[in-house]
Every structure is written in structure tokens, then in C-alpha cells.
Subunit: 152 residues, 2 copies
Amino acid sequence: MEQLTDATIAAWTGLMRTSRVLLERVETALKSAGFPPLSWYDVLLEIEMAGAEGLRPYELTDKLLLPQYGTSRLLERIVKAGLIERVACAEDRRGQVLRLTEAGRRMRRRMWPVYARALGALVEDRLDEGEARQLAALLNRLRGGEQGPGDP
Amino acid sequence: MEQLTDATIAAWTGLMRTSRVLLERVETALKSAGFPPLSWYDVLLEIEMAGAEGLRPYELTDKLLLPQYGTSRLLERIVKAGLIERVACAEDRRGQVLRLTEAGRRMRRRMWPVYARALGALVEDRLDEGEARQLAALLNRLRGGEQGPGDP
DNA sequence: GAAATATACATGCATTTGCATCTATTTTGT
DNA sequence: ACAAAATAGATGCAAATGCATGTATATTTC
């Protein structure tokens, strides 16, 4: 029942297993270097890339595909660690603007080499550039054709 | 610093985003049909496929790539729901053997159409068979060449 | 064959996640 | 301008996860 090709099943299980395994390895690399989880890196990077205007939490929710409460709590922890700060938002008094602290900027910079080394070993050493590009293309199609841009 | 090609970055972010989005949609499909999470399906299927000899928890841990305590607790819940039962293991008194109950077998059968429909919409409708096969191949290479077999 | 080591599984405790709902403000419709 | 609806964000509570460690049995080593 429910005809699905073997190829579909193989793609799905490959996706589930591979993403879990690689993510776990990246997390392990960060943790064993004494760094916080990858999600913190994502937050720090997005805020840094947002530049001088800062970033609103709801924008982060969109970019990182997190549930709203997930963003709220993640930010709470990162703020508590002193890596970002919330500033009241001038043009919307419900909201806030996120900014990196100096410690946050430093943390992001220090995490990157560990992250990059892991990606080098896990991805770049295993796929040549053409393959990586093809994989990315297939994954993007799977995700539903075309969405907003994406960054590391 | 830390040269990584754009293709590597694109493959990595594609992998993270796509796996999260698709998994979330599958989970949503199951939940809104009134079913338990996908991990329950995985457990039920593995036990069913193990056949008459049943399956040991540590084997499940290997197959599903779960941490040991994760398996222990997942099984606890599924047992409590009456879908599987633990039987004392004859040849290793530390261990146990898992078996499906009739309700477990039924549950797995009833979940499959929902699961399959989701995979049809998310994977099969978006990639033709050749693309799916290629995606699976690339993902398997990423996961570290060749491991044991894998099933849905 | 006794002691050391390894394996199977469980569990207490802290952290994280999910869900539903709450408050405050902004936007919309009339 | 005001009521209704939508949006930004927080939070209480329950469930799930991670981590370290515990207990029991098996296996290895000397």
C-alpha cells in the first residue's frame, strides 16, 4: 500500500540520518572546545550580519525557523550569558532590538574556526565542489522550490 | 579565515534547514491525524521487521542512532501506551526482548498511510526518481561512505 | 576462579522543548 | 475614533532530553 519508490524512501532516510549524525558531530566539536551550542552561533551570526540597525526577535524567528517561544527562550539564555543585549525598540513599543555585545562578537569569532573545521571534515572532505553544489540544489528543491536566502 | 567553499556552506545549510522543515511537516501530519511521534513509528517498524526473535533495546539504539537513555525512555512510553512489551531475555539476564502487541501492530499499520502521504507530497512530488536516488547517494557519502543498511 | 572490566539497561536531576495562553501594543475595518 | 483583530514577545506547566551515575549480569584477564 501507499506506493513510494525505493528512491524516495532512501532519500528520506538518508536525509534524517545524515542530518542527525552531522549535526551531532558539529555540536560535539563545539561543546568539547568549551563552546555553547550551534544555535547560539546562528543567533550571533544573524545579529552580526544584520549590522547597525540590529535585529528584531521575530526576524530571527523567521531566519532560523524556530518557534516563537523557542526564540524567546534562546535569547533569554544568550542574554544571560552576556553575549547579546536587548534594547527597547523605538518604532514599536511591543518589540525590542537585539545587539551583540563585545563578548558576543568575540564569541562568534572564536567559535567559527571550530565550526568551520568540523564542516571541512564532514562536508568538504567528502564531497567535491560540484557534488556539494548539487546536493544543495536538490535539498533546496525538496524544501519547496524557492524560499528566502540562507546563510551558515 | 577557514576557507570553506560556498558550495559546502550551501550544502550544510540546505541539509539543516531541509531536514528540519520536512521532519516538522511529517510530525505535524502524524500529530494532526491523532498519532504519536515519528520516533514511535520507527520503533514499531524495527521491532516488526525483526520478526519472531524480537529485538533487543541495544539493537534499537544502534538502528535508530539514539542515545542509550533515549531508547530506554522512548520504550518506557511506548510500553506504557501498550504498543510493545518487554520480555525477559533468556540468554542474557541483563537484557530484554521487545515484541509488538496486537495494538502496536495495528498502530504501525494505521500510521503508515499518513506517513506515506506526507512523504509523497514532500519528497516524491518534488524529486523524480533519478534525483531522489542521487540525493540519497550524496547523503550517504556525506554520512561517511558506507554504514549498515537503513530502512524507513 | 577471582578480580577487573565491559555491557545492558534504568534513573535522578537539571536543562530544553512544546503547548497553550497571557499582556501589551499596533493595525484594520467601519 | 473606536472596537475588533492581528502582531510582538513572555511565561506557567507538562513532556522530552542530556548527563552522569547506578545496578545487575557477562566477559576478560591473570
